[in-house]
Amino acid sequence: MVKFSVEALDIWFGKTQALKHVTMSVREKEILSVIGPSNSGKTSFLRMLNRFNEENPEFRMSGVVSMDGRDVRKIDRETLRRKIGMVFALPLPLPLSIFDNVAYGPRMHGERDNRRVAQIVERSLKQAFIWDEVKDRLHESAFKLSGGQQQRLCIGRTLAVGPEVILFDEPCSGLDPISTAKVEETMMILKKDYTIILVTNNVKQAARVGDRTAFFLSGELVELDATDKMFTAPSDKRTDDYIRGKFG
């Protein structure tokens, strides 16, 4: 099943072209890793899916991005973003308690019943594999958690809104290896229920968790293939060079 399909996508920020004629698709309930050096367009690609690029007044595009066969531009942003959660590079808890951080989304979307909210919070934190670590201190400030815990809290917060897709934008770039391993483990399990797109600077991470991997370079999609194949026998020389660490 195709979750997203991207056809002939060109985008610009002002005069700079950030993506050049990208055509690809993302399958339902896979982890797609997106790799590439800085300024390769991988984050711009990610932000096309939840219409985040449109917050930039200089943004222009041509081509079509569709989710479940519908042009994302025809879905209003708030509805789209409830279906597509996003986890950022730096864990970003709000200055609230652990509980309130997770309850934030459901409450914002109109959930008034406190028992329901508590259920959602518990379920989301369990899914993000942080429940056992925080269940006894739900009302402490989220800032007291470690970086890795904060990041999993943010994953929980994203899950609480009930998305179908989760976008990870370099989620481990600020984390130590142990926390990184935990976040990766979480992603692997979430894959059962969610479509996951992981933008990462860490080629090894892409190799570890991705079902398929896409390689971007200077705004072009160079190659998209099963991760095993890509990391053993890439079809493009540039992919091979990047994976081996010859540049980037």
């Binding site: 985040f52 007044p57 970003l92």
Partner: protein
Amino acid sequence: MLRKFKEFVIEKLILLCGIASVIFVALIFVFLLKEGLSVFKFVRIGEFLAGRSWYPISEPAQLGILPLILGSLWVTFGAAVISVPIGLGCAVYIAEIAPGRTKEVLKGGIELLAAIPSVVLGFIGMVTLVPLVKNVFHLSTGLTGLSGSIILAFMAMPTIVSIAEDALYAVPKSYKEGAFALGATHWQTIWRVLLPAASSGIVAAVMLGIGRVIGETMAVMMITGNSAVIPRGLLEPLRTLTATIAAEMGEAVVGSEHYFALFAIGIILFIISFAINVTADLFLHKHK
């Protein structure tokens, strides 16, 4: 050798400048206290602060400044009620909603508003606002607290807008993105994320705006009617602490109880603005 000497001289000169400003403040403060506290040889502090009549040159003089304190408070309250919502709305619009060009024009406009001398605002208020207030509310005079509040609101607005806008702008962009990513609308993001995150800066903005209003003299003197009676609302003439000093200091006999009383009013004003500035400062630094 010569270079070292130059360094030494420059260093000491700068030190002198630094010390001078402290000394000036200290001297002003000492003078104000010395003159102001002398009034309590004539009147008890309770009578001074809570006395309901201000007849400084009658025999015997009645030196109750309650009408003046209430006058200042009413005008300030009125100005705050007008300028805080408008100012914050303006700040949110500039920081979050206005597209590039509109933003520049608005910011320029706000700066221009800050550049209008208060006496000019007072003068404009006198010929436009005063008759308007008179006609709208069917009053015998338009020289009322309300007129003063409106003009003062104009003066507080630039302070409130620019500081609140800075505070909103300083909220990390990532907060906003985080809220958007959860499917929040722009307004939900502003109301539930940006405003709370910028709250300390916004409180400081409001405090500094109010500080400006409390200390303002010229415009209020021109359009509030200057009657030193206890005001029952904003639709009556009233008189503020500042206007009293400005209006009467010229006529007060040096060394008389009237003269000392005006200095004591100065102390009260000093305490009020000092408290407001300290509060604003506390909030601003909590922010950082």
